[in-house]
């Protein structure tokens, strides 16, 4: 069930980030933004990729070129279609006119769609600098931005820094665990040769949101401990979960640490 909920949230979050309440601008006395905001409502019911949607947002921008929302709304279709240049031009304008509201979003998209590790870190650290509150989650809702930051440091070879960031985030007051947090942390420990902490995190993931990846990497831990019997049992569990679709998933990209059939086959061969 948790898995289905995460799919739903993921699919939903990209398509409908919060439409601003236009009356807010009216109450603030910003009639220009109020008019622009009303114009964006004409995009309702149109697909984000469609010309009708794009034109409605263009008209809002024409009314108030400093209104961040329509830039971000327009940018989504370019992001999903792989047009990084137009996406970046638009999202940069959204960040310019509302950095607090858009820096975290830009950061997580840079990570998720383009694996732009350095750029993502710069954005998140800038957000940390200007924000007095929790910096929030990735665009798809799967990760806290500190975890995204950690995964970028991992990709740049700084694994201990990545571990420290995730461990710190897990201990933050009121933190709601991300659906893949323990898998990523477990894999980081595994790669660092800390088998005991790797095992601990895979057990936590099993209790929270059990996925094929979790057992696949647990199998690797047992293999490293030379316990081939348990390694085979864990790998078999990975196969069973893989077959029913309990895997790390993202309709747009391949999540880091996701496993594939070919990886399972290689492991099976190594255990026989």
């Amino acid at each position: 069930m948790k898995l289905y909920l995460s799919f739903f949230f993921l699919a939903f979050s990209y398509n409908s980030f919060t439409q601003p309440n236009c009356n807010y601008f009216l109450n603030e006395g910003d009639t220009l933004k109020y008019e622009a905001c009303l114009q964006t409502e004409n995009a309702k019911g149109h697909y984000q990729f469609s010309k009708e949607y794009q034109i409605a947002m263009d008209k809002a921008i024409k009314i108030d070129p400093t209104f961040a929302y329509p830039y971000r709304a327009k940018s989504v279709a370019y992001l999903k279609s792989g047009d990084f240049i137009e996406w970046k031009r638009l999202i940069d304008l959204a960040v310019k006119y509302d950095p607090l509201g858009n820096l975290g979003y830009r950061a997580s998209c840079r990570y998720q769609f383009f694996r732009d590790y350095g750029g993502t870190i710069i954005d998140i650290e800038e957000l940390l600098r200007i924000s007095n509150a929790d910096i929030g989650h990735s665009a798809n809702g799967n990760y806290h931005l500190q975890v995204v930051r950690a995964l970028c440091y991992k990709a740049l070879g700084r694994k201990q820094k990545a571990i420290d960031l995730i461990e710190t985030q897990l201990q933050a007051e009121g933190y709601v665990i991300g659906i893949y947090d323990y898998i990523h942390l477990g894999v980081l420990y595994l790669e660092n040769g800390d088998l005991s902490n790797a095992k601990l995190n895979f057990k936590k993931q099993q209790d929270y949101n059990d996925l094929a990846e979790n057992h696949f990497y647990m199998s690797k831990v047992f293999k490293a401990e030379n316990n081939l019997k348990k390694a085979k049992i864990e790998l078999q569990k990975a196969v069973e979960l893989y077959e029913i679709g309990y895997v790390m998933s993202d309709p747009y990209v391949h999540p880091v640490d996701k496993i594939f059939w070919s990886m399972i086959k290689v492991e099976q061969k190594s255990l026989n």
Binding site: F49, K51, A77, Y78, S81, G82, D83, I85, Y252, S262
Partner: protein
Amino acid sequence: MNKILMSFLCLSIGMFSCNEIKDIEKEPYLRWVGDIQFDEEIDNPDFKLCYTDNNVRQYFNFSKGVQYKGEKPAIDKYFLENYKPTESKQIGFLRIRFIVNCKGETGRFRLKGMGQDYQPMAFDKSITDQILSLSKKMDGWLPIEMEEMNNTPWDYYQYLIFKIDRGNIIEIMP
């Protein structure tokens, strides 16, 4: 005058680079962002859609991720084994977008390159030619279908993004 200059530039850089520049140019809105219209100058006329241009979907409409025989590792392996690193100082991203029809055939390839600063960049021909040619030869794309639509296979847009570092492919997305 501008058109003459652009034509000269395209001709001098070569067909594929021209393709890249063409894609960077601002287009009036089509049906959907990223739609690729047939261009008789660069597109293979033998590639046919199963339906009409208005029925081409997006890769993510099916929520199944990339549909390729052998999954993502097969894509990585294919380019790792067949792409030959070249002498180049360029660092950036190269995107190739195309259509997969309902039979798993591909066509209407379009390139777009950018530097690390997300600004347009024309990659060396030794890189673009290889990636374009290899992408056209990929034969593992699978038609995708939606349960909600009687599992009918549809035509869809797919893209690959290559992270290029001095003539080497260092990462492929999605």
